[in-house]
């Protein structure tokens, strides 16, 4: 009575639903990422000894905080699968391996977005000039969403690689941070005019293109490489 082979879409749906259910049932990634980001904002608030930052400093503070918070999520992304045998359970199923990449990247993307809602609110409260308007919010959201796609793709790839090693907590930042340097540069370049003193300026189009291109190239690369990472 072997069932029919599920479609890629159905496999992604099953994986994603499982990821969200696990995080709801036993929250791990989201609280850790959100708390770390808020704690880092507080540290910046006191260490910079300022009530408000603007321009490239503001962009740098936010980018670095979000990136390091993302590292926590990446390091834990595959831990339950690895420790409880979910990896093997998935590999035994007659489904396309890329379902795992896509579902994990989608879950990480969602966790990043939720973490950023908390982090940006804390950032606005602790470090941002009281000039936040619709333009600032829209540009920040667009920039972070584009950055999140790149972080989610690279994070899933690196998480799958690192979880198979004993030093996974060390491996994640060591591998992911260099790969994410273009995302850091583009995000900071896009956020600097957004947080300009006196009000948000227009986003530089070339850096939007860089971020979009990065997402596309590394998305395709991850799709091509992922099978080799999860197979023996």
């Amino acid at each position: 009575m072997s069932g029919r082979r599920p479609s890629l879409r159905s496999a992604i749906g099953a994986m994603l639903a499982k990821e969200l259910r696990l995080e709801l049932r036993a929250p791990q990634l989201l609280p850790a990422m959100a708390l770390f980001s808020v704690a880092t904002m507080i540290v910046f608030h006191f260490s910079l000894q300022r009530d408000a930052v603007a321009g490239s400093l503001a962009a740098g503070v936010l980018t670095v905080t979000l990136l390091f918070s993302a590292m926590l999520g990446i390091a834990r992304l595959f831990v339950a699968d690895h420790e409880e045998g979910g990896f093997d359970g998935f590999l035994l199923a007659p489904v396309d391996r890329s379902a795992l990449l896509i579902a994990k990247a989608m879950a990480l993307f969602l966790f990043l977005v939720i973490m950023e809602v908390v982090a940006v609110a804390a950032y606005a409260l602790l470090l941002l000039e009281p000039a936040a308007g619709a333009r600032l919010l829209g540009q920040t959201a667009l920039t972070l969403l584009l950055a999140d796609v790149g972080i989610a793709v690279i994070g899933t790839l690196v998480g799958a690689l690192a979880v198979q090693t004993r030093a996974r907590d060390l491996m994640v930042p060591v591998i992911a941070l260099p790969l994410l340097v273009p995302v850091v540069i583009a995000t900071a370049k896009l956020l600097a005019p957004t947080f300009a003193q006196g009000g948000a300026e227009a986003l530089p189009g070339q850096w939007l293109a860089v971020l979009g291109l990065y997402d596309l190239v590394f998305g395709l690369l991850a799709y091509g490489l992922f099978d080799f990472l999860v197979e023996d």
């Binding site: 069932g3 496999a11 045998g85 979910g86 035994l92």
Partner: protein, 227 residues
């Protein structure tokens, strides 16, 4: 001539420089049971993981259900039921949620999940998280997962190790000889193992030390493997 379910020819698998399986050659006809004996580290689990397509052979060939595992592993996934030392289920999800997740990955209906939960005696606790189960209950849930998609070939690593006699009876029709499936079963119990099998394989340090009809093998021969 009976169809062959498993055919291994010089199968070798290494971990680093150590050979976990070395030059294993055997064949198993469909519908028959192979019991694998051997001390810890003999290569029993590695053999099951290679047959399940979770590990690649490093040398030799392995054909399962008519497909070469090195080139066509994808063709046998979904036709194999694997029950290892880990339940392959998430501790924070309930048995029903875990089985429904696997059902979606195998294209199996949720009705089958409910029916299996009933058969393994977990219907009343089906919505409790797995971490609240005893080891025996987890093993029963794992049995349900392994047969969820009604596999042709069962790969069972000491399947009744955590089960009491009643639970072992409950799962017998699903994974036992009466299931009618082709089975490869590891065991440390010469009496029960030989009685339950058609063919016996003895491994030691990854090498075949014994391969014969189970009926012709004595307890002493099995005991020799462990000395």
């Amino acid at each position: 001539m009976p169809e062959t379910a498993v055919e291994l020819e010089g199968l070798t698998r290494r971990y680093g420089g150590r050979e976990a399986l070395a030059d294993v050659t055997l064949s198993l006809e469909r519908g028959r049971t192979l019991v694998v004996f051997g001390p810890n580290g003999a290569g029993k689990t590695t053999l099951l993981r290679v047959l399940a397509t979770l590990l690649r052979p490093h040398a030799g060939s392995a054909r399962v259900l008519g497909h070469d595992l090195a080139r066509e592993g994808w063709a046998v996934r979904g036709r194999i039921g694997f029950l290892g030392h880990q339940p392959l289920m998430y501790r924070d999800l309930s048995a029903r949620e875990n089985l429904r997740f696997h059902a979606r990955l195998h294209g199996v209906s949720f009705e089958r999940v409910d029916a299996l939960l009933e058969r393994v005696g977990l219907a009343a606790r089906a919505d409790d998280p797995l971490h609240s189960y005893s080891r025996g209950m987890v093993q029963r849930a794992a049995v349900a997962r392994a047969v969820l998609h009604d596999p042709e070939l069962l790969l069972l690593d000491e399947p009744t190790a955590n089960l009491d006699p009643h639970a072992a009876e409950l799962v017998e029709p699903l994974i036992g000889r009466s299931s009618g499936r082709t089975r490869v079963v590891t065991s440390h119990d010469p009496v029960g193992g030989l009685a339950d099998a058609d063919v016996a394989l003895g491994l030691r340090a990854g090498r075949v030390r014994l391969l014969a009809d189970a009926a012709a093998v004595t307890r002493e021969q099995i005991g020799e493997l462990y000395r």
